[in-house]
Amino acid sequence: MKRPTGRRLTVTAMTVAGLVVGATACSSGGGTSSSQAADSGSYTVWDPYPQFAGDSAWVKLLDGCGSRAGVKVERRAFDTTDLTNKALLAAQQDNAPDVLILDNPVVSTLAEAGVLTTTDENKVDTSKVDPNLLAAGQSGGKTYGTPIGANTLALYYNKDVLTEAGVDISSVKDWKSLTTALDKVRKAGKKGITFSATGTEEGSFQFLPWFWGSGAKLTELDSAQGVSALSLWRDWLEKGYAPDSVINNTQTTSWQEFASGEYAFAENGTWQLAGAEKAGFDYGVLPIPGADGGSAAAPTGGEFVTVPVQGDSGRYATTRKLVSCLTSAENLYDTDTTLSYVAPTAGVRAKQTAAKPELKPWVDAVKAAKGRTSDDLGTRYPRISEQMWKAVQSALSGSQSPKGALTAAQDAVE
C-alpha cells in the first residue's frame, strides 16, 4: 500500500515541477523572443502614445501603412520616460523594434548608444523638414530620424481676467511689460502666471524660453543673461505674481491651475489646445516674449520617427516603406491633427493653418523654436539640463540666489 502512494506522489511532484519550470522558462523567454518571432511578415513599432487605444486613428494609420507595405504591424505603446529605458534594454538584448517613435531630446542619447541608424543608412527622406526642427535629431553631423510633428511652448492668456484687470494684451511685448501686466492682475485680486518648474526635464523645458529669451547660451549657465532669466522667475514668486506651487507643478498640474479661471497667464504647450477649448473661458495665445521684445526661442517638443539598428539589414527596405508612409504629407496632416502638433513641413503647415486659423501663433512659435540638443550639444544636453532644473529649484525655493545657483550648476556641468 505504501509504495504506490509514494510513487504516485513522486509522479505528481515531478509533473508540478515540470509545469512550473516550463511556465517560468516560457515567461522568461517570452519577452526576448517577441520580435524574433516577428519574422519577415510582421514589423514592430514602439510609440509614446499610450492614450491611443486599438481603435484610434493612429493605430488604424499604423495598420494601414503596414498592409500597404505588405506586412503586419505590431504596435506597443509606452509612457514617454519609460520608452527610453525600454528601448535601451531592447537594444541590449538585440531585440529593438523596427520603428521607434522617440521624444526628440533622447534621440542624441540613443544615437550615442549606437541604437539608431542614420538617414544615410536607412534612406529616410528628410528634405522637406524645417532645419530648426530636424536639428534636434542631428548629432555629430548625422541625422537620426525625421520629426513626426512639433510642439512648443507659448503663453496662454485668459481674456476675461485681463479685461477685468485692465490689461491690453497688445501692450505685452517684453519681460518688463509682462511683469507690469502681472502686477495689474494681482492688484485686481486675480492670480498672475503659472508654469512648471518641477525637478525633471519638464522644468528645464519650461525654463528654456526665458533662458534663451535673455540671450543666454546653454554652454554658459551662469552668464549675466542666464541669471537675469532666473531672477525674473524668482521675482515673480517673491512678489506673488506666480504661486510657489510652480516648484512642484508638472505641465499638467500647471494647466489645471490655469483652467480654474483664476490665472491671467499660463506657459504651456500646443497639446493643451483641445483642453483650452473646453476650459469655458475666452483664451488667447501669445508667443513667449524675449527680454527686450520679439519672440523668444522656445524649445521644440515632439517625437522623431527613428529606425533602430537591426541584426538583419534586409528589414530596412520594408521599414523605410513604413516610415515614408507614416510621414507622408497626407498622413502627417492627420497625425498632427490628432496629436494637436504643428507639422514639421511647410506644405502641411499651410494646410493646417488654412483649416484652423487659430494655429497661427503656434506655427510662428514653432518656426522660432530651437532643439534642446541643437548647437551640437548632443549628449551634453542631458547633463546641462539636469543642473539647470536643479538651479531653478534652488533659486525658486529660496535656498540659493539665482547667481549662486547657476554658478553651482555650471561648476557641476564642468
Binding site: G6, T24, I247
Partner: protein, 315 residues
C-alpha cells in the same frame, strides 16, 4: 539545525542496512519539490541581486550598456557616490525619515490598538475605517496629500488661516518638504502597525488583567507592566518590518516633491531612482550603487532581527 542533524543521523543509520528502493524515489521527489523553489529563488532573487552588484561595479554609459562591454571599475561608482555632495544630505534625510516615521507610526498604532482592544460599540467599524490609508493606492494618497498641502489652495493652509497661522510652504520650502512627506508617510503606515499590534494584544490572556485589577493596578500600570512587556515580540516584528518598508519608501516622496526642492527631501530611494531613471542620460552604475547601499542596510537590520528572535527563543 536540529532537523538537519536528525536527517543526517537517519541516513547514516540507513547505510548500515541493506539498501532498498524507497530512499531513491524519496530523494527524487525531494529534489522535485526543491526544484521550483530553487529555480524561483535563483531567477527572481539571486540573479537580479547579482546583476545589481555587477551594474554597480562597472562604468556604464548608454553605449556600453547596449554593447555590453562596460569596463570593470571596482568600487569607483561607490567612491563617486560617497564623494557626491548629495550623499550627506541624502543619508541624513533617510535616517531622519525612517526614524521619525517609525517612532510615530508605532506610537500612534499602539495607542489605537489599545484603544480598540477595549471593545465598544462601533469599534469594529471604526477600526475598519482606520485601515483606509492602507487600502488606497499610493498614487491616490500621495496626490491627495500634495493637493491638501498646496501652499495657495490647499485645505491645510486654509485651516491654518482660520486659526490665524500664516501660510506654510509645505512642499515648496526646503525647510518643510521633508516634514510634509514624513507626515504623509506616518498616516499611511499607522494602519499596518495598528493591525499587527491589535492582533498581538489578542494573544495576551485576559485573566492577567483581571488579576492585576484585583491587586489594585491602575490602567497605566497595567499597560506598562503587562501589555507592553508581553507585546515585545510582536513589537519587534512590527518595528523591523516597518523599518525595511520605510527605508525603501519611494512613491510618496516622488509624487509629492520628487525629492526636492533642491534635494531637501531626497532619500537614498529617490536618489537611486533619479540617478538611474530620472534624467535623459541614465547613470546606471551609481544608481545601482546607491540601491545596493539600501539593500545592505535592510539586510543588516534583518540580521539584527534574526539575532533578537534567536535570543528570545533561547530565553
Amino acid at each position: 539545525m536540529t532537523v538537519r542533524i536528525v536527517a543526517r543521523g537517519a541516513s547514516t543509520n540507513r547505510t548500515t542496512r541493506p539498501p532498498d528502493r524507497r530512499p531513491a524515489s524519496r530523494q527524487w521527489s525531494a529534489w522535485a519539490f526543491l526544484a521550483p523553489v530553487t529555480l524561483y529563488l535563483a531567477l527572481f532573487y539571486a540573479y537580479p541581486l547579482y546583476r545589481n552588484a555587477d551594474l554597480s561595479l562597472r562604468d556604464y554609459t548608454v553605449r556600453s550598456f547596449v554593447q555590453g562591454d562596460a569596463p570593470f571599475t571596482g568600487l569607483e561608482n561607490y567612491r563617486k557616490v560617497f564623494d557626491d555632495p548629495a550623499f550627506g544630505p541624502a543619508l541624513t534625510h533617510t535616517i531622519v525619515f525612517t526614524a521619525v516615521c517609525l517612532v510615530f507610526q508605532y506610537a500612534i498604532g499602539l495607542a489605537l490598538a489599545v484603544f480598540f482592544h477595549q471593545r465598544f460599540r462601533l469599534s469594529a467599524t471604526l477600526r475598519a475605517l482606520f485601515l483606509v490609508p492602507w487600502l488606497l493606492p499610493l498614487i491616490v494618497s500621495a496626490s491627495s496629500w500634495s493637493w491638501m498641502l498646496n501652499s495657495d489652495s490647499g485645505v491645510v493652509n486654509a485651516a491654518l488661516h482660520v486659526i490665524g497661522v500664516g501660510p506654510v510652504h509645505w512642499l515648496t520650502s526646503p525647510s518643510w518638504s521633508l516634514t510634509s512627506v514624513i507626515i504623509a508617510n506616518i498616516w499611511i503606515g499607522v494602519p499596518f502597525n495598528l493591525v499587527l499590534l491589535h492582533s498581538g494584544l489578542q494573544s495576551i490572556p485576559r485573566n492577567l488583567y483581571e488579576a492585576a485589577a484585583l491587586d489594585g493596578a491602575s490602567a497605566w500600570q497595567r499597560f506598562w507592566r503587562i501589555t507592553f512587556p508581553l507585546l515585545r515580540p510582536v513589537s519587534a516584528v512590527t518595528l523591523l518590518l516597518g523599518l525595511v518598508y520605510t527605508l525603501k519608501v519611494f512613491d510618496i516622496i516622488w509624487i509629492m516633491t520628487k525629492g526636492g526642492p533642491a534635494g531637501s527631501s531626497t532619500t537614498f530611494a529617490t536618489w537611486s531612482y533619479r540617478l538611474g531613471f530620472g534624467s535623459l542620460l541614465p547613470a546606471f552604475g551609481p544608481g545601482a550603487a546607491v540601491g545596493n547601499l539600501l539593500v545592505v542596510a535592510a539586510l543588516a537590520f534583518g540580521l539584527v532581527y534574526l539575532r533578537l528572535q534567536r535570543k528570545q527563543a533561547l530565553s
